[in-house]
Amino acid sequence: LDHNKADTRFTRLKWRRAFGTWEQKAARWVELIRAGYDPNQPRVPAGNRDGGRWTGGGGSGASSGTDRSNLIGSKPRDFRNPNKPLVQLAQVDGTPPPRKPKNPKLKVPLKKVGKRSRGEPPGAPPKVSKRKPNTNQERNRTAKEVARWLDRARKSPLPGQIRVFIGILEGISWFNELKPYVQSYFDEPKSLGQLNKDAQTRRPAYERHHIVEQMPARQDGFGRDLVDAPENIVSVPTYKHHEISGHYQMKRKKYGDKSLREHLRGKTWEERRNEGLKVMEDFGVLGP
């Protein structure tokens, strides 16, 4: 038993050390991305006086901000005041530069959980490619991995890693559209009344969920007045909805190697509704 304890402690130490190295590298990347670093930006060829320096022309990233010829008041960087922005406020024709669309940062609230599970390292963060994945399935899979990892990390004893990881995500443009889906995954459980009320308006990153599953209920003869009644419809975060829908379809030992959906066949409306409410509680959507 002592050997096991020592082994676990050693594994944790190893993990912390590995994370420390990763954190340093990640922080450097965040710094470079914020400074407008673009690895594809061309350099002056070797042999010239400025050999190796970045050139402004033809670079792929507009964010590099090195082609300053069309900016009023362009001048060399003031190294005594390194925080001074390189990009000026107006262009040649006097119009203000186009505003970037609002891109709210991910906010990951730290979470307190039982002592038993606190302290379990969340493992390495998922890899998020700078190149946009080709399919929706791949994009959603990545975003779900990110949501789950952040959800684990916010309960871990090293919340600093969240800041670093979010910094990396900020530099990945294709991920912006999925941020609301990741953000909604951290919603705290709500009351049934609130979830019903939320379902009255459609919101991005949320889906309408039927407490009693609609298709099997209709197939079993329950009318639309019951199935589509406002009391049966709640608003849940999209990725939670995927998990809950999956839960209804997965085979389980508890139901004799059948799914919950099959298990509920032939049951009364009340039995289905009670089960539906318990499922929402199990997934942390509905408050106790």
Binding site: V113, G246, Q249, K253, K254
Partner: protein, 123 residues
């Protein structure tokens, strides 16, 4: 995960197949591919049947997976051994539930409720 004749496999190979299946289920769930999840479920049930056929000691080998890094492996191991180590299995299911690491925490909560109400009687 392809169907195969499990009688020829060693105990270690059977346990490895169980782990591989759980890891594949973890990914299938992440990709919302429930058909795949259920296909793997069937293959894993066959592994459990083979372990049952080999006796109690063979089934107890699954207890070694209680410390596995992957939460889906731990969840499946707890559910597969709830009939032979009920107290330990419940303790692990409670830990998974309390971790609030979804969706496995929700599955563990549902299984615990089944055990406590007597709705699920594992053998």
């Amino acid at each position: 995960m392809k169907r195969m004749n499990l009688e020829n496999l060693t105990l270690e190979q059977l346990i490895q197949r169980f782990v591989d299946g759980a890891l594949m289920q973890y990914v299938a769930q992440l990709e919302n591919d429930i058909r795949k999840f259920n296909r793997i479920y069937d293959r894993m049930t066959e592994v459990e049947q083979e372990l049952k056929r080999r006796g109690l000691e063979a089934r107890k080998s699954l207890l070694s997976l209680y410390d596995h890094d992957n939460i889906q492996v731990r969840l499946n191991a707890a559910e597969a051994t709830a009939g032979i180590a009920p107290m330990r299995a419940r303790k692990l299911l409670r830990e998974i539930k309390d971790s609030k690491d979804y969706p496995q925490a929700a599955e563990a909560s549902s299984s615990l409720r089944g055990l406590e109400s007597g709705e699920w009687k594992p053998t």
